[in-house]
Each structure stands twice: as C-alpha cells, then as structure tokens.
C-alpha cells in the first residue's frame, strides 16, 4: 500500500509539473497575472508529492519491505539502520528519485525566496524548472520506477553493495546532487532571461547565490567522494581521473567560471551573454554527467548496472535540453547589449582570463573523458585515457589560473595599474620565494612539486596581501583595522577564504601526488618494517564480527625514534550477504602527513599482505576544500543576497580602493 501511495504521488507530481511548465509560460507571454501565479502553488504541490514519494520509499527500506523490487535488490534485514536510510539513494532508481526531490526542493526555494523577482521572470524560471522536472519524472516513472512490486515476495534482500555501507559515501550522492541540480536554477534563469531578452545586473545578482550554493555543495560532494576513495579503496590515492569523477568535476569547473563571470555581470553589466552561456553549459554538463553514469557508457568504478533504454532516454533529453537552450541562445543572445567597457588590464580582464582558463581546462577534461567513446564509435578501437593525460594537460592549464588568482582581486575595475598591483603583491613574492627556497633545501624535488607548492604559497601570499589591503593593516591603527575586518562584507571574507582554501587544496594535491612513499610486503605477526622514518610492528591479527560482516583486524604499532607514535587497526571485512570484501584502511594524521596502513589477504606462506603509505600533505586536500566550502557559504550569507529588492550596484567605490566597487549598506562606515 505504502509503495502504491509513493508511486501515485509521483504521478501527481508529474501532472503538476506539466501544469507548472506550461500555464505560467503562457501567462508570462500574454501578461496574464493569474496564469503566472499558477507556478507557485504547483511548485509547492510538486515538492509535497515528491517528498511523500521519497518518504514512502524510505519507509519501505526501513521496514525492509522486500515485496518492493528496489528494496529487495538493495537492502537486507540485517543491515544497520543508518544504511537502510542511505540505501534509498545507493541505487539507480532511488538516486533518480533523490534527484527529482532536490529539483523540487530548489523549485520550492525559488518560489519561497523569489518574492522580489519580477512576476514574469519568476513565472518563466519556475516553468523551465517544471520542464526539467517533467523530463526527469517521466524518466523515473517510465524506465526507473522504484516502487515496482515483486511476486512472490522474497524472504530477504540482496543487501546494499558493501562498499556503499560507509558514512563517507552515504552522504556523497546527496551533496553531489545538490550541486548538480543547483546548476539547474542558473540554467532556468539563463533560459528565462533569453526568452525575455534581458540580462541586467539584477539578473546576475539573483543567479549568484544559487550558483554559490550549488558550487559549495558540489565542492563538498566531490571531496567527500574523493575522501571515501582514499580510505576505502585501500591504495592511498585520492583522485583517479575516473570518467565519473570527471563527470562531476566538469560542472564544478563551469560553476566556478560562472561564479566569477556573474560578478562582472553584476558589478559592471558586462560579459552578460557569456554568463548566460556558462549557466547553460554548466547544467548541460551536469546532465551529461548523469547520462554518462546512468547509461553505463563509460567503464567506471561508479556505474550502476547498464540499461540501454535509460541511456537512450537521457541522451534524447540531453539533446533536447542542450540543443534547445543553445539554439535559443544563438537566436536571442546577439540582441543583448554589451554593457560596461573595460581595458584588458583590469579586474574584468583578469576575470575574463580566469574564465578562459577554467573553460579551457574543462575542455581538456571533456576531451580526455569522451575521447575513448568517440574513438570507439568511429574506429572500434578501445583506448583508455589515464591520469598522465590529465596531469600533462589540465594541470598546466590551471597553473596560470592560480598565479593569476593572487593578482586579480587586487586589480581595479575598468583599468588597473600593473605596477601598483605588483607592489601590493610584495607579500606574495616573499612567501613564494621563501617557500621555494625552503622546499629546495628540505625536499630538493621533484621540480614539479616545488613549482606547485610555490604557486600555492604565492596564492596564499596574494590572498593575505589583498586582505591586509582591505584592512589597511599596518597603515592605520590596529583597532581601526579590526573594525574594518568586522565591517568587511561577507562576500569579501568568502572570496578570501575560498582562494586560501584552493591554495591549501593545491598544496595538498601536489604534495600527495609527488611525495607519497609506498611499501607493500607480507608481514608475519611480530615482524617489523621501516617506512619513511617510521618503524611499523605487526603486533597481532584478530578475527571478530561486525553487525553484518566478519572482520580481520590487524594491530600495528608505529614508532618514531623508539617512541610510540600511533597504534593503527586496519581492517578487512567480508560481508555476509554479498560475500564481498572491503578494505578499511587505518589512518593516523599529523595534519602534515598521513600514515596509512591497509591489510590484504593472507599469504600462502603465512602472514598477510600489508600496505603502508606515507602520504605527505593529504590532509590539506580535505582541509582546503573545507575552507573553500566555508568561504562559499560565508559569501552566500552576504547581506546583499538577502535584503530587499535588488538595486543597481551602488557606485560607492572610493578612488584607490582595490576591492568591492559596491559596498553593501552595512560596510559604509568602513570605506
């Protein structure tokens, strides 16, 4: 009964989505306020019904109702309760239901927070969201219905893939989807603006918070997946340039570009049609990511079972959305007036280069990801494009971006003075030089790692320079600087945090990929070995049981110079139902490096295979992303995104002030 209610609720939601995507569009076209007003209740209704469906599926999982095929295939009565909840989206059907639920949530949020949107724009934005909703609900009901019944009812289920029974992966999909689907809002705004033929600073200001939210969620979601891969796959890597990782990384790159170009559109009324294009491309790449993962087109660690019907449907939907929106763009964009002028050397110019590099980097990832598919289709030859490709293309495209990120925020709008910027960057020159000298002295190489970390240090220095500049630190009394810090707009804090976070993240990624020490050997109980200056003693190996698995737990003492440094307990689990193994690495972090130990299978001659890694700077990857996400959220909480009807950007900028041409009201006292 519960499953039927869920199924029925989905059908009702689809009916509402059809109404939502048609009547308000007609209303906005004809100027009929009553028809436009239809969108808000339908959005609310859609959200309620999809929530109901989601709750029904969750209920079926929690009570282990194995008459529902989806529950039978992905759950088991002995599974811990938490994974009964998270199993809801640990499979294709459930994850698509999560997708439409988040879409409905965003729709409801636009309706709730969009009180200050012009009614025509709001009606159109919600109608486009409705269209996307129709596309996905039809997909769900026609090809991926999670509420199908089984007859006869099996006694127990097949259990969730043990690799997914993990807290890190439990929350990776929801966050990722929050990011993916968040880009649909920017997309809907872009299409609505194209229909209206009007993009102004107010439009950019509406788009920015949604892009910020989606960017933050996407960053968190991607890194959560990366963190999971790091500790669960047991071989010490954190990013594999796997097609599905790339599929989530491309929208992230586009969202990053969009965030930056929307600033120009908001503050300077320039780069407008470019911003619209980025919004379209960002969501198109999210859809493509979904298509690649769901259709099983790519061989990847993440793919669920392939089903050609789904692939064909999503491909058709993708062609419709991308083709339709790009055609609309080609038709309407030329009529948009270019706004504020600027010189090549200016803040706008720097942001243009930022966008160029991000989009080019995204193109490199795109080519590397899709080339195997294209070659296979054209010639039947099968190839794979591995990490070396991305390391020698994408990484080199990003390097100048990071160098520029230190200078860009110090440039004035319209026309900047390079000599002045260089002078303000003194701190960055100093930190970069110190870092380079120290690194050469301590580690000596490889030179790629030295270069990467020097760039990270340069960026940190640049962030500090820009921040101190705002506070007038050391130039006015300290109390004045503190007062400035307090009155600084949140968006300025957000930017500094996000840029600092990316510097920390890059330092972590560079260190981890260049300086990892790996040691694999068979160890008997009692045996000792030495890796990267630490002594590892294999103390014991015990067997025990978890809630739904057997486990073998090793105890490994780590000593440094004869003193106990850490005790690690790596695990190997065998899950009862599916009979598969998982590796649970044990990690001790010093925040400068991780000591990482994983155990494998027993060797024929006794003992077990033990993998020991010393991973310098890996914790910085997680730390850096955390700082970045906090930066995004702080910026999102900026008053300008919340308060009142969006006025045109204030031109309250004072001469010589490098930052923020438009100060929000609360920071007026600071300037």
């Amino acid at each position: 009964m519960i499953a039927e209610i869920g199924h029925y609720a989905l059908i009702l939601a689809l009916a509402l989505a059809v109404v939502q995507s048609t009547l308000p569009l007609i209303g906005a076209w004809r100027g009929n306020a009553a028809l436009m007003a239809v969108s808000r209740p339908t959005v609310a209704g859609q959200f309620v019904f999809i929530s109901l469906a989601f709750a029904c599926l969750m209920y079926a999982y929690v009570v282990s109702d194995f008459s529902v095929a989806n529950v039978f295939e992905n759950s088991h009565s002995a599974k811990p309760l938490m994974y009964k909840f998270t199993a809801v989206w640990g499979n294709h059907e459930g994850s698509m239901l999560l997708w439409v639920w988040i879409l409905a949530l965003y729709g409801a949020a636009i309706a709730a927070f969009g009180g200050n949107l012009p009614p025509g724009l709001r009606a159109r934005v919600l109608a486009i969201q409705g269209l996307i909703g129709v596309g996905f609900l039809v997909f769900l009901l026609a090809t991926s219905n999670p509420f199908l019944r089984l007859d006869p009812v099996p006694l127990n289920g097949r259990d969730l893939n043990p690799l997914l029974q993990d807290p890190g992966l439990a929350f990776h999909p929801p966050l990722l989807y929050f990011g993916y689907v968040g880009l649909s809002v920017a997309f809907s705004f872009a299409v609505a603006a194209l229909i209206e033929g009007k993009v102004d600073p107010a439009w950019a200001r509406w788009v920015r918070p949604w892009s910020l939210l989606s960017w933050s969620a996407l960053s968190a979601g991607i890194v959560l997946g990366s963190w999971w891969a790091y500790y669960e796959l047991g071989w010490g890597g954190f990013w594999f340039w796997d097609p599905v990782e790339n599929a989530s990384f491309m929208p992230w790159l586009m969202a990053t570009a969009l965030l930056h170009s929307a600033i120009v559109a908001e503050k300077r009324d320039a780069l407008k049609s470019w911003t619209v294009l980025l919004a379209i491309l960002g969501f198109s790449l999210s859809l493509m990511g979904t298509f690649l993962v769901r259709s099983g087109m790519l061989t990847s660690v993440h793919s669920f079972a392939a089903d050609p019907a789904r692939g064909v449907y999503i491909l058709g939907f993708l062609v419709l959305v991308v083709g339709g929106s790009l055609s609309l763009y080609a038709w309407r964009a030329p009529s948009m007036r270019a706004g504020g002028r600027f010189r090549p050397i200016s803040r706008e110019g720097a942001l243009v280069i930022n966008n160029l590099l991000l989009v080019t980097g995204c193109a490199a990832v795109f080519i590397g990801t899709l080339y195997p598919l294209i070659l296979d289709a054209l010639s039947g030859e099968k190839v794979s494009v591995g990490p070396p490709f991305f390391e020698s293309s994408f990484v080199w495209i990003m390097a100048p971006l990071l160098v520029l990120a230190a200078a860009g925020p110090l440039m004035a709008w319209k026309r900047a003075d390079l000599a002045g910027v260089a002078q303000r960057l003194t701190i960055a020159f100093v930190t970069a030089a110190v870092a380079a000298v120290l690194l050469v002295a301590i580690r000596g190489g490889p030179w790629g790692a030295i270069l990467g970390l020097t760039i990270a240090a340069w960026l940190i220095g640049g962030v500090a320079a820009e921040f101190f500049e705002r506070l007038r630190l050391f130039r006015v009394p300290l109390m004045d600087s503190l007062r400035r810090a307090r009155l600084l707009p949140r968006s300025a804090w957000g930017m500094s945090l996000a840029h600092a976070g990316i510097a920390v993240l890059i330092a972590g990624a560079v260190g981890a990929s260049n300086w990892q020490t790996e040691s694999i050997q068979v160890m008997q109980v009692g045996e000792a070995t030495s890796v990267a200056g630490y002594d590892f003693t294999f103390v014991s190996l015990d067997n025990s049981q978890g809630p739904n698995y057997d486990r073998r737990v090793g105890e490994i003492r780590v000593e440094q110079d004869g003193e106990l440094f850490a005790t690690l307990y790596p695990e190997k689990r065998k899950y009862w139902v599916q009979g598969t193994d998982t590796t649970e690495a044990a990690i001790h972090t010093t925040w400068l490096a991780d000591i990482y130990v994983a155990i494998g299978d027993p060797a024929p001659g006794g003992g077990v295979a033990v993998r020991i890694y010393h991973n310098p700077l890996v914790p910085w990857i997680w730390l850096g992303t955390l700082i970045m996400v906090i930066g995004g959220l702080v910026s999102l909480s900026d008053r300008r995104h919340r308060v009142g009807a969006p006025n045109r950007a204030r031109r309250a900028r004072r001469a010589g002030e490098p930052a923020q041409p438009s100060q929000p009201n609360e920071s007026k006292g600071a300037t």
Partner: protein, 148 residues
C-alpha cells in the same frame, strides 16, 4: 582603446589560450593513450615491451596462483576463446576473483602481461563494457549470467 581593438585583444587572447591548450592536449594524447585488447586480439598482434596496454576479460577459473613471496599473483585472462597470462605484484582489489571480469594494465614481456594495475569493478553486478564486448566478439557472451 577602441571597442573593436579591445574585442580583437580578447579574441586574440582566447585563440592563444585555446591554441596552447590544444597543443598541450595533443601532446598529452601522444604519450598517454592506453589501448585495450581482448585475449583474442592478442593472438594476432605483436607488442614491444615499452607499449602500455590493457587486457580485459574474465579471470580463468583455477588459474590464480600466489607465489611464495605472498605478493606476486599469476593468473590467466580469458575471453573464453583465448587466454593471456598475467603476473602482478601487489595487493589485488577487493572484488578480484576467479570467474569475475577484470582489466589488467601493464607491459608485455614475452607472452606474459606484466601488470602494474588491476581493475576489478566495484559493483559485482557490473561487467566492464570492454570485457562484455570482448566476450560478445568471441561469441561467448551469455547475457546476464556470464559471470558464473
């Protein structure tokens, strides 16, 4: 600077970036493409030991032998009409098992693939697409149950 010149400057900059990126991408492709073959393909081809390649198929039942050092594993990859011997030193992925789909990446040494990377897929219902195709080509594809 006139609007036209400004636009020209940006277009030039864009072209330069794209050109540079294209050059980087092509160079990167040159060295880093890894071709995939099925065991049947391998019968008709010769490879030098500096060519990196991937071989995919099923792990032949009963072929997995662990060496006394506890780390080296030898096994055969089969598409059910031909086999390739593989040796790998390291810890196998959790889902590696006899009869399961697998992809091994490495260099040929004589008639044996010296693999430095073994991919067994995470979802055990899931067959790597290349492996499924290789099986279909050799006429051994039996739909869903091919794993057993």
């Amino acid at each position: 600077m006139k609007r036209k010149h400004r636009r020209l400057a940006f277009v030039g900059l864009g072209m330069a970036t794209l050109g540079l990126a294209a050059a980087l991408i092509l160079l990167a492709f040159d060295d880093n493409l890894v071709f995939f073959f099925s065991p049947t393909d391998m019968e008709t081809r010769e490879f030098t030991s500096d060519q990196r390649l991937r071989i995919g198929g099923l792990v032949e039942e009963g072929s997995v032998v662990h060496d006394q050092d506890g780390l080296t594993v030898r096994f055969n990859i089969t598409d059910l009409s031909a086999i390739v011997a593989v040796s790998y030193k390291g810890v196998l992925p959790d889902l590696f098992d006899e009869g399961q789909g697998v992809i091994a990446e490495g260099h040929m040494q004589g008639n044996m693939l010296r693999a430095d990377e073994i991919l067994a897929k995470h979802d055990e219902n899931y067959m790597p697409r290349e492996v499924a195709d290789a099986l279909k080509q050799s006429g051994q594809w039996q739909g869903e149950e091919v794993k057993e």
